[in-house]
């Protein structure tokens, strides 16, 4: 199937994504749910995995499994090489300056906790301020609240407007002498809003304040170049990028990472241990205590390899087409209110009805084979901001189609019929 969105360039027509070919790469998409073809629109929660990622995990455990950085034997050398090659690949993918700046963690949540506990507890004190935004996931709120309790620092929140866009003027007002760290999401999981992160970084850096970007929802949709963004930390999860669960990345600028103490103690993060004193290992190993998720790192690299076979411009054009199509289709449904109408958005459609609860919509859609998320999306302050207890959220990935959005719309009509 060819999608309708085609981009004309001088002299020739760029080929559009071959979605049926892409879909064939994701074995899970072939299955039926409740006797209906699976329509997977819960990519904001986690994405599906291409066969090449599944194969990479299988190959690792079948032929390379061994512990890394310690064995002298053949398998350990191979596993170490594969794991470090994965780090290199991820370094290039986000355009970090050095592989020393790529720390393997369990996911975005652990990356943010690492910065809060290591950087935060070292450099923040009573009276200091941390700025976050009103559209954060709980994982970019709670670690800072814990840090505030530990240090006496306090949290300031950039408000959002009714479309779900950050109010930059308010951010300018919040930035001050006391601001010691800014941590905001690149893309909102509940609203789909793309935050003006370059402005956020520029304004913070003008005051020498470091910035962490939560990239969990941005990484599968946007081209992320950490040097171009200028951020000091960038956190993301492998599983939202078509890779395995349980592995994620913290990118950090070398100068900051060097100044930070280890997050966890254990094996691999040391260079010398005596009972009197321990010398910590160099970057990135200083932050990687214990045996990591080796297969996960290798699987994440396989996901990046997979994405490299696709034309990113075409992917973004396709996703933009899905968002435009879904926005138009859902807007035409009586009584449906879209939550999150920012001008700059990724493919996330959060919506509510006055008389039908998100959970009921979710259950009825599931019976139609359509997988969506219903609830507060781990962003309860966002729900409070819009005065709703929960929303139904359809979130798209590069393998979704217009026909799947049609199935979503049919499912919503069925829900409305039940609750007529």
């Amino acid at each position: 199937m060819k999608v309708a969105h085609e981009i004309a360039t001088p002299g020739r027509l760029i080929e559009t994504l071959d979605i049926s070919k892409i879909r064939a790469d994701f074995p899970i998409l072939k299955q039926k749910v409740h006797d209906k073809p699976l329509v997977y629109l819960d990519n904001g929660a986690t994405s599906q995995k291409p066969q090449s990622v599944i194969d990479a995990l299988n190959r690792y455990y079948s032929t390379e499994n061994s512990n890394i950085h310690r064995g002298v034997h053949y398998l350990s050398e191979r596993a170490t090489a594969a794991y470090e090659a994965a780090r290199q690949k991820i370094k290039s993918f986000v355009n970090a300056r050095s592989e020393r700046e790529i720390i393997f963690v369990r996911g975005t949540t652990e990356a943010i906790n690492l910065v809060a506990q290591s950087y935060g507890r070292t450099f923040l004190k009573k009276g200091d301020e941390i700025i976050i935004s009103a559209m954060e996931h709980h994982s970019n709120i709670v670690p800072w609240q814990m840090l505030c309790e530990q240090t006496g620092a306090c949290l300031r929140v950039i408000p959002i407007n009714h479309d779900g866009e950050l109010v930059l003027d308010e951010y300018r007002r919040l930035l001050g002498e006391k601001t010691k760290l800014v941590s905001v999401t690149h893309v909102s999981n509940a609203l789909g809003t793309i935050a003006p992160v370059k402005d956020i970084v520029r304004l913070a850096h003008a005051r020498n304040v470091p910035v962490l970007l939560d990239g969990a929802q941005a990484i599968p949709h946007l081209k992320v170049d950490v040097q171009e963004l200028g951020c000091d930390f960038y956190a993301f999860s492998g599983h939202k990028l078509f890779g395995p669960t349980g592995v994620g990345i913290l990118y950090g600028r070398t100068e900051l990472l060097d100044a930070m103490p280890p997050y966890q103690g254990g094996g691999d993060m040391i260079s010398l241990v005596t009972f009197e004193k321990t010398h910590y290992n160099v970057l990135p190993y200083k932050f990687e205590a214990g045996t990591p998720h080796i297969a996960g790192g290798i699987g994440l690299a396989a996901a990046i390899d997979y994405l490299a076979t696709l034309d990113w411009k075409q992917v973004m054009a396709h996703e933009h087409d899905l968002l435009a199509y879904a926005t138009s289709a859902l807007s035409s449904i009586d009584g449906l209110r879209i939550i999150g109408t920012a001008k700059e958005k990724v493919g996330v459609m959060s919506f509510v009805f006055d008389h039908v609860h998100a959970h009921d919509v979710g259950t009825i859609l599931d019976q139609e084979g359509v997988a969506v998320r219903a609830g507060h999306h781990c962003a309860m302050p966002v729900m409070q901001r819009f005065g709703v207890p929960a929303t139904t959220r359809a979130s798209f990935a590069l393998y979704n189609t217009r026909a799947e959005i049609d199935a979503l719309v049919r499912g919503i009509h069925r829900a409305l019929k039940v609750f007529k």
């Binding site: 039908v356 609860h357 998100a358 959970h359 009921d360 259950t363 009825i364 019976q367 219903a374 609830g375 507060h376 309860m380 729900m383 207890p389 929960a390 039940v418 609750f419």
Partner: protein
């Protein structure tokens, strides 16, 4: 009847549209809040308990059709019952919702009365907590617990 029709029967939809005993109660001597952190459903149950009998019971809150209808039907069913009868009904409803069989097989209609209409919920594991929230909450209210009941 499809699983979906079994879940959203007309009686349930009616209780959702016009929930019974949906009000705060100033003279309640038992009160508890229930909360489902997974979805944000919340409910407050008020009970006027006199000499071991539920003289009056009401609720308020926000939630899906299943949680609202379940709370509404629960208040209608529990009014006039003794604490012991309420506890027995709680146990039977809980077994029905989770699909857990009694020693003599699944609970039949005599054991749960009109609440049997909610039996379709057990085929939707993700919704069991919606239906049981009000019941856990009244259970904690009757025990005199002042805290927030969570389904987790």
């Amino acid at each position: 009847m499809s699983q979906l029709d079994e879940l959203y029967q007309e009686v349930i939809l009616d209780h959702n549209r016009s929930p019974r005993n949906y009000r705060a109660m100033a003279n309640a001597n038992r009160k508890a809040q229930g909360y489902n952190p997974l979805c944000g459903d919340q409910v407050t149950v008020y009970v006027d308990l006199k000499e071991g009998v539920i003289k009056d019971i009401s609720f308020q809150g926000s939630g899906c059709a299943i949680s609202k209808a379940s709370a509404s039907m629960m208040t209608a069913e529990l009014k006039g019952k003794t604490e012991a009868e309420a506890k027995e009904l709680f146990d039977n409803v809980h077994k029905m919702l989770t699909g857990e069989p009694n020693k003599d097989g699944p609970p039949d209609k005599r054991e749960v009365g009109k609440l049997a209409i909610l039996s379709g919920v057990c085929k939707f594991p993700a919704r069991v907590k919606c239906a049981s929230l009000a019941w856990h909450t009244v259970n904690s209210a009757l025990k005199g617990g002042a805290g927030v009941t969570s389904t987790e």
